[in-house]
Amino acid sequence: MAIPGLEQLPVLPVVIPLVAAPLTLLMKPGRAPWAWATLVSWVTFVVTLLLLEAVWVHGPVEYAMGGWGAPEGMSAPIGITYYVDLANALVLTLVAGIASVVFPYAYYSVESEIDHRQTPAFYTALLICFTGLLGVTITGDAFNVFVFLEISSLSTYALIAMGARNDRRALTASFNYLVMGTIGATFYVIGIGLLYQATGTLNMLDLHQQLMGQSNRMVEAGFAFIITGIGLKLAMVPLHLWLPNAYCYAPSAISAFLAATATKVQVYIILRFMFSVFGFEFAFLEVALNAFIVLGIVGMFYASFVAVFRDNVKQMLAYSSIAQIGYMLLGISFGTVDGVAASLIHVFNHALIKAALFMGVGCVVLRLGSSNFAAFNGLAKRMPWTAWGLIISGLSLVGVPLTVGFISKWKLMEAAFQTQTFIPPLLIVLLIGASSLLAAIYIGRLAYAMLLQPVPEDAEPVKEAPHLMRITMWIMVLANIWFFFQTDVTVGVATRAAQALLDTGLGYGGAY
């Protein structure tokens, strides 16, 4: 680190929330845990921003936990290494940024949806989950990924289950997620085990070095286990079945937070493993990429179709998330800098979009107690701020210009045109367009209900959502517009990050 006094920077994003989480549990139910969690998220966000800036200016940062660097003469580092390049710095910032908006937002929503006495536990779990997500992103150690993955997952199960006060089905959803998440984690750890068997290292950088030229059954199997495991966590079609209900029955704030962060982190892991750990020398990568094209396209369409017919807005958005993951997979599958950049950009943009949407739905749930379509009829007249926020972020989801969704679509199409895969580029682009149209249909349905449907006649008058929720939601909505104009953060960083990822060897060969 060239910046004096910031040597410890890479570790802070994990340490701060990790330390803060148990403290939360000690607090009085009510406002204090919330305020504390919010404060933590903000501090973390500032730290991640500093980290991003540092990486942007000075290149990748390596941090050996407890000073256990690679001993003299040994190539493999023994201890856990944190390794931050632009790719994970971007995701870190994203996760922390989303948290710093969603946490404040959560207050009223949590008050109404969670048992008052459970609030300290809730915020504790939330902070732990936050820690896990950051840890997964930041670590340079394959096994450490598993650890943080489980940290975040376990807390997530608890958080989802807390939705049971509103709807008992949250329990089932949480249980399902638990089973599936555990399976996924298990697969992942088996995969890691196999790789360790083959290479004797768990450090990602080192893994890459060791795997170079290796292509035996064990590595193949490890690859398959890792991809399936992460794919499961990622809700990659056809392994997505746990996701809709989990998102749907979770408390509103949790839906917003998870939708915007959890799957995004998994996309980063996939990227990391495919390009940094295995790399292009790995013969099977091509096959996997081709499979991703198909899975991506299938996901884009299949999940969108389902979303079109859903009567519950949260479920609709959940399925939409699955479809959006299809875009990210598609970007990855191109195996080019542009493609991976497009994927990263979409990770970022989609987080903004989905956060805003779920926050909007949360406002509606707070006031109307339901996220069914019927509740949205005439919403533009009853809760104009919420409705217009939903519309704008919905347009962003569709990919309408002036919103970030457009940038995603644009970069993805641009990347698609420049690829050489077994599907003609033009066809891929047209399919992207077609699936955007499906998004237009389900968002259009929502917009139609809100704008043009009459308010039910027997409806009682409702107030707008509390200022806090509206403001935080609109911060997200405006971010959707802001990052259309400010593409340095997304396009600029993502392109360089993708470059770094694709450069053989985790940053050794790259300038970044």
């Binding site: 569709v398 990919g399 309408v400 210009p401 002036l402 940038i407 679509k409 644009w410 199409m413 641009e414 045109f417 420049q418 033009l426 682009v429 047209l430 992207i432 367009g433 077609a434 955007s436 149209l437 237009a440 259009g444 704008l451 043009l452 259309f484 104009f485 593409t487 396009v491």
Partner: protein
């Protein structure tokens, strides 16, 4: 024109003012006179601004400004060239006429949600101006979509089952083609050239460095196809069904769609793409345009044939529009300077003519609640002024002097001769003759045909539509005649873009 405003400032104002107008309309929800007053004042100012811009453009200026550069080579930027200035003047000018007419129509038929109606109009006109002034494909695309979305509530204004179905088709086709085809076309353009700026002489023609692609490359064909079908507002067959489907809207909306903004935005886009993205000469070198030329020619005839079978006056007019729009496409795809000039003048001429026709159709509906042609026999005696205006408009569409519609036809023929596509002559002539049959016959029957005994009107009792319906129709009807005589200034105005000042120019 003496003006304290710079053309750039005028552009800012004309793009932003409608939004203020929107809020003004919203605030004046309960006071219809003030609300419509806001609309008209906004319209007048915007029109004035459009004229300032046009005057500056005719003086050789190319006012413009950049809002933001999104990605290198991809910016939201405005710059006005003559074609856009013309479209801006047409759209903003006819908006005033249309607003006047809307007042008569909406009050005459006691429509609901009038505030929303005027608000949507304000957004739509803003986006039409945005389209007119856009300096690149991205900006064009943005406002193109805004136009689609803002007109959707207008199309479904009646909120019944038919309106919803029509609206679904309208939105489905327009959004579908624009996102599904136009956006890929724009991206591909960007991928190939690194920019989407409208460049005089053609982006693909490449200027001094030479073309980026061979003119005969299949990629050019693919791109042209994506653009031609992607700009669904140009209603090239088979992308046209949204236009008849949108006929469920109140008549001012139809007039707006057909004459003021929407379809004009489409064919304007086609012209822009041909002139500024491909380049006229570049396109002429290759073979790609020929397919679309004949498709447009087919469109002209087939749409006319379908129009003949429609008994609903408005849907007949809708198919007539499909047919007439393809003239512009023909002009563009002939890929000669005279062709694009002909297409450009057709935009203006058709705007005036079709506007008249729709407003008359609406006036008939307001006054007598008749929308089927078979019910209009002898009605001309009851509302002669409406019918005469209609006939003038129809003459213009047919292409008879002294109405403006005759010049584009002549220029297209000229261009067809230049390009060596003599078969286009047959299409244009047949189209004119079919126009007579399906546009003129029903209206003249209202006058010239003796009435059947069942239909007797009092001799002295004219039952015209309200003046607010009638006067706008006459304004545009007279406009077609005026434009006939002032075609030369228009050609000269467009010359820097089209390169057509006539023979040897």
């Amino acid at each position: 024109m003496l003006s304290l405003l710079s053309p750039e400032m005028a552009m800012y104002i004309s793009l932003i003012l409608p939004i203020f107008g929107l809020f003004g309309i919203m605030l004046a929800d309960k006071v219809p006179n003030v609300r419509e007053g806001v609309t008209l004042v906004t319209g007048a100012i915007v029109f004035y601004m459009a004229i300032i811009v046009a005057v500056a453009v005719s003086g050789g200026a190319r006012p413009g400004f950049e809002v933001a550069e999104i990605i290198p080579g991809l910016a939201i930027r405005f710059e006005v060239e003559p074609l856009g200035a013309m479209f801006g003047v047409i759209a903003s000018g006819l908006w005033i006429v249309n607003s006047l007419y809307s007042i008569g129509y909406m009050r005459g038929t006691h429509e609901k949600h009038q505030t929303r109606f005027y608000m949507c109009f304000a957004i739509a006109i803003m986006s039409a101006l945005g389209i007119a002034y856009s300096a690149n494909l991205l900006t064009f695309f943005i406002f193109y979509e805004v136009l689609t979305l803002s007109t959707f509530p207008l199309v479904t204004h009646k909120e019944n089952e038919a309106a919803r179905n029509g609206g679904r088709i309208y939105l489905g086709i327009l959004l579908g083609t624009s996102i599904g085809l136009l956006l890929p076309a724009i991206v591909l353009t960007y991928v190939l050239t690194g920019t989407t700026e409208f460049t005089l002489g053609g982006l693909f023609a490449g200027g001094a460095e030479g073309p980026i692609l061979m003119a005969t490359s299949p990629v050019i064909f693919v791109l042209l196809a994506l653009f031609a079908f992607g700009i669904g507002k140009a209603a090239l067959m088979p992308i046209h069904p949204w236009l008849p489907a949108a006929m469920v809207a109140p008549t001012p909306v139809s007039a707006f769609l057909h004459a003021v903004a929407v379809v004009k935005a489409g064919v304007f886009g086609i012209l822009k793409v041909v002139i500024f993205i491909f380049g006229v000469d570049f396109l002429a070198e290759g073979w790609a345009a020929d397919f679309f030329l004949w498709l447009a020619a087919f469109s002209v005839l087939a749409a006319s044939a379908i129009a003949m079978t429609q008994d609903n006056l408005k849907s007949r007019l809708a198919f007539s529009t499909v047919s007439q729009l393809s003239y512009v496409t023909i002009g563009a795809m002939l890929a000669t300077s005279m062709g694009v000039a002909g297409g450009a003048t057709q935009i203006a001429a058709h705007a005036l003519g079709k506007m008249t026709l729709f407003m008359c159709a609406g006036a008939i509906y307001v006054a007598h609640h008749k929308s089927l042609i078979s019910e209009m026999r002898g009605l001309g005696r009851k509302m002669p002024f409406t019918f005469i205006a209609f006939i003038i408009g129809a003459f213009s569409i047919i292409g008879l002097p002294p109405m403006a519609g005759s010049w584009p036809k002549f220029m297209l023929m000229w261009s067809a001769a230049d390009a060596g596509h003599q078969l286009v002559f047959v299409v244009l002539i047949a189209s004119s003759l079919m126009n007579i049959v399906y546009l003129l016959t029903p209206m003249l029957r209202g006058f010239m045909d003796p009435m059947s005994s069942g239909l007797k009107f009092d001799k002295d009792c004219l039952a015209e539509a309200p003046l607010f319906c009638l006067v706008p129709a006459w304004i545009t009807a007279i406009g077609t005649i005026v434009l006939f005589f002032y075609i030369e200034p228009l050609i000269a105005f467009l010359e820097p873009v089209t390169g057509a000042i006539g023979f040897g120019g």
